[in-house]
C-alpha cells in the first residue's frame, strides 16, 4: 500500500472504528464521579440552609425575648401606672413606711411585683378592694384575692423585707406556691443548716426568717440579678411619614466562588487548573447605599460598592525560548553516487521554570438597584430584597493561566484579559436591623450575588463567572 493511499484510507475510515472497551465498568466509574460532585453541591446547599436557620434562630430568640420584655411594659399605659401607684402608695404607706423606696425599683416587672407586694402588706379588707383594681389593669398578674387573704403575718413580713432589700423578683404566685408548699411540711424539715448560711448577707441577716425562707432564696437571688442585668429596652416610635430616606454605609466580606467555563462550547478551554485552595476566594466590599422606605414597609434602594477580590495564584512561571534547528533527516542513495538529503527541523526549547505564589487583585465598582419588604418588630426590623447590578472593572493586577496553561499577566482594563465591562447581574439578600434611636440603626445583610456574564476577553477562550455569598455590616442613618 502506498503512503498516500494509506493516509486517505485511515483518514476516512478509522474514525468509525470502534475499539473494544467495557462500557459498563466505564459508566460505573463515571456515575460515581458525577454523583459525588452533585453530593458536594447538595452539601454546600445544606450548609447554607443551616447557616440561615442558625442566624434566623438567633434573630427569633432576640426578637421574642424583646417582645416578651416589652409586652409587660406596654400593657400598662403610663397614666394607669401612675394612677395605680398612687393608690397603692396610699395603701402601703399605712403599714409600711419603706414603700417609697420600693417604688424606685427598676425592673421590667417591677410595677406589678411592687404593687403586689404593697397589696400584700395592707390589711385584708383594703387589699381586696385594691387588688381588684390592679387586676383589672394588669391582666398578667394572677393575684387572687382569696389567696392573699390567707397570707400570714410572718409571710407579710417576709415580703416586705424583700421589698425593702429590693429583692423583687418573679411573680407573686411563685412566692405563694413556696408558702403553700412550706405550710404542708413541718418546721423541722424546712429548717436549714444555719452554719452553711452566710449571715453577713443583708437578705439573710435576720435569722428568724430562715424558718420560712430556706434555700429557695438562691432562686430569688438568681432572678434578682437576671432582672438587674437586663437593660431597659423601650420601643422607639418612628416618625409617621409616607417616605423615609436613609443613607447606609456598609462593609462586607463575601465568600467568592469563581468558575472558569468555556464560552464557545469547545473542549480546549474546559479545564479549571486551579487547586482547591485557590478556588476559595474572598471579596471585600465597601459601599454606600440610599434607601427609600415607604409607609407600607416596601422599600427601594440603590447602592454603590467598591469591591476588591484577592485570589491566590500559585503557578509555575515559565519562559520558553524555541529555536528551530535544521538537520538532515534522511539520506536516500539514488545510485550513481547521488544522495538525496531530506531536511528536517526540530525545536530546541530552553525553558526556565519558577514556582511562585502571586496574589491577584481585582477592583471594580458595582451599582445596584433593588427593592424589598421590611417587617417591623419594635426596634428590630427584618427584611428581604432583590435587585439588579452592573459593574465595571477599575483595576486588575496579577497573573492567571489561560486555556493552554500559559501564564498571562493581568494588566489594567482594555489590555487585560478581563473585559472592563462586567455586565449585568443580580442579587438577593436578607436584612436585619436594630434601631439605636430614631435616626440610627445597625444593619446587617446576608446575601447572594452573581453576574450573568462576567470577566471575559474576546481574544482568549476563557470565560469566568463569579458568584458571591456573604454578609455586610453597616449603619443606617435616616435623613428624614
Amino acid at each position: 500500500m502506498q503512503l498516500n493511499e494509506f493516509e486517505k484510507h485511515i483518514a476516512s475510515n478509522i474514525d468509525d472504528y470502534q475499539s473494544k472497551i467495557d462500557t459498563d465498568s466505564l459508566w460505573d466509574t463515571l456515575e460515581t464521579d458525577l454523583h459525588q460532585k452533585k453530593k458536594k453541591k447538595k452539601r454546600r446547599l445544606i450548609f447554607l440552609i443551616f447557616g440561615l436557620l442558625f442566624v434566623s434562630g438567633f434573630v427569633y430568640m432576640g426578637v421574642s425575648s424583646y417582645l416578651s420584655a416589652s409586652s409587660s411594659d406596654s400593657e400598662l399605659s403610663s397614666s394607669r401606672i401612675e394612677q395605680g401607684t398612687s393608690v397603692n402608695n396610699h395603701n402601703a404607706d399605712e403599714v409600711n413606711p419603706n414603700r417609697e423606696e420600693a417604688n424606685h425599683l427598676e425592673t421590667d416587672a417591677s410595677t406589678s411585683v411592687i404593687d403586689s407586694a404593697a397589696s400584700l402588706v395592707t390589711p385584708n379588707n383594703q387589699t381586696k378592694a385594691t387588688t381588684s383594681e390592679i387586676k383589672s389593669r394588669a391582666t398578667n398578674r394572677d393575684i387572687r384575692s382569696s389567696q392573699i387573704g390567707q397570707v400570714s403575718r410572718s409571710q407579710q413580713a417576709f415580703i416586705s423585707n424583700f421589698a425593702n432589700d429590693k429583692v423583687v423578683s418573679g411573680s407573686l404566685p411563685n412566692v405563694q406556691n413556696i408558702f403553700n408548699n412550706r405550710q404542708q411540711r413541718s418546721q423541722s424539715e424546712l429548717k436549714p443548716n444555719l452554719s452553711l448560711i452566710d449571715t453577713q448577707r443583708k437578705d439573710v441577716e435576720r435569722l428568724d426568717y430562715l424558718d420560712i425562707i430556706p434555700l429557695d432564696i438562691i432562686e430569688f437571688e438568681k432572678m434578682k440579678y437576671k432582672l438587674k442585668m437586663r437593660p431597659s429596652i423601650k420601643p422607639i416610635k418612628m416618625p409617621n411619614k409616607l417616605w423615609r430616606m436613609s443613607i447606609i454605609p456598609q462593609f462586607g466580606i463575601y465568600y467568592t466562588d469563581r468558575t472558569i467555563v468555556t464560552n464557545n462550547s469547545m473542549g480546549e478551554d474546559l479545564i479549571d487548573y486551579r487547586s482547591d485552595s485557590e478556588q476559595i476566594l474572598e471579596t471585600m466590599s465597601l459601599g454606600i447605599g440610599v434607601e427609600w422606605q415607604h409607609k407600607s414597609n416596601l422599600f427601594v434602594s440603590g447602592k454603590v460598592n467598591i469591591n476588591q477580590l484577592t485570589e491566590k495564584f500559585t503557578g509555575q512561571t515559565s519562559e520558553i525560548k524555541i529555536e528551530s534547528i535544521n538537520y538532515i533527516q534522511e539520506r536516500n542513495f539514488l545510485g550513481n553516487g547521488m544522495v538525496e538529503e531530506v531536511p528536517g527541523t526540530f525545536d530546541q526549547r530552553q525553558e526556565t521554570i519558577t514556582t511562585s505564589t502571586v496574589y491577584n487583585t481585582l477592583r471594580w465598582v458595582e451599582l445596584t438597584l433593588g427593592g424589598g419588604y421590611h417587617i417591623d418588630m419594635g426596634r428590630w426590623q427584618v427584611g428581604a430584597g432583590a435587585g439588579l447590578m452592573w459593574g465595571t472593572m477599575l483595576n486588575a493586577e496579577g497573573r492567571i493561566f489561560n486555556a493552554n496553561r500559559n501564564i498571562i499577566d493581568i494588566e489594567n482594563q482594555s489590555s487585560s484579559i478581563y473585559r472592563n465591562n462586567l455586565g449585568l447581574g443580580g442579587y438577593g439578600l436578607i436584612d436585619l436591623r436594630y434601631a439605636l434611636d430614631k435616626r440610627l440603626s445597625i444593619t446587617t445583610q446576608l446575601g447572594y450575588k452573581f453576574y450573568a456574564n462576567s470577566f471575559t476577553h474576546p481574544s482568549y477562550p476563557l470565560d469566568i463567572t463569579y458568584r458571591w455569598w456573604g454578609g455586610t455590616v453597616g449603619v443606617s442613618y435616616h435623613m428624614f
Binding site: 478509522i14 467555563v261 473542549g267 528551530s324 528536517g344 530552553q350
Partner: protein
C-alpha cells in the same frame, strides 16, 4: 435512542441518556484516545476525563456542527493536555530512534484497524500528535502549532518524519506480502 434524544436527555442530567451516550460513543472515542497515546491504560484515563467534561459541558452544546465533532475535539484536547501534563516539567525534545514492534504477518492494513492503530502508536510522541491531527483530524499546521505550542515549521517537520517512518513500515509490509 436517537442522537437528539441522547443530547437532550444528557442536558437534563438523565442517567439513562448518559449511559446511552457512553454505550454509543465510548468505543469510537476510545479509538481516538488510543491514537494519541501509546498505552491503552492512559487512553482509558483520557476517555474517562473527556466523558466527564462532555457531561459537564453538554448543556452548552448549541447544536452547531456535529455532536460527534464536538466530542472528538474534547477528546483531542484532553489527550493533548494529558500528554502535556505527563512531561510538564521536562525540558526535552523527543527525538530518539523508534524501534517499531512488528505488525502481525497476517495483518491487512486495509481492514485491520487494530494494526493501523498499533502502527500509529509506534510513532514518536511529537510525530504521532502531528500525524493524528493533520492527517486524520483535519487540522492545518497553524492550528496544530497553536495547540501544541510549537512553530508551524516544526509541525511540518514532524509530519515529514512521521510519513517517512510510516513509508518504511509500509515498505516492510509490501516486502512481507511479496515474500508470502
Amino acid at each position: 435512542m436517537t442522537e437528539a434524544n441522547i443530547i437532550s436527555g444528557c442536558q437534563k442530567d438523565k442517567r439513562h441518556c448518559q449511559k446511552a451516550l457512553v454505550d454509543t460513543y465510548a468505543p469510537t472515542l476510545f479509538t481516538m484516545a488510543r491514537r494519541y497515546t501509546r498505552d491503552d491504560h492512559s487512553a482509558k484515563d483520557i476517555l474517562q476525563e473527556a466523558l466527564h467534561l462532555i457531561f459537564k459541558n453538554i448543556k452548552k452544546y448549541q447544536h452547531t456542527g456535529s455532536f460527534k465533532g464536538w466530542m472528538n475535539r474534547i477528546v483531542i484536547t484532553t489527550s493533548l493536555k494529558h500528554l502535556r501534563d505527563k512531561d510538564f516539567l521536562k525540558d526535552k525534545v523527543e527525538f530518539k530512534p523508534v524501534h517499531a514492534k512488528p505488525i502481525a504477518p497476517d495483518a491487512d492494513l486495509k481492514t485491520d484497524y487494530e494494526a493501523i492503530i498499533h502502527l500509529i502508536k509506534q510513532l514518536p510522541k511529537g510525530a504521532r500528535q502531528v500525524f493524528n491531527m493533520y492527517i486524520i483530524d483535519g487540522y492545518d499546521h497553524n492550528e496544530i502549532a497553536k495547540m501544541l505550542d510549537i512553530s508551524a515549521a516544526t509541525s511540518r517537520s514532524q509530519l515529514t518524519r512521521a510519513r517517512s517512518w510510516l513509508r518504511q513500515e509500509l515498505l516492510k509490509e509490501k516486502k512481507t506480502e511479496l515474500c508470502s
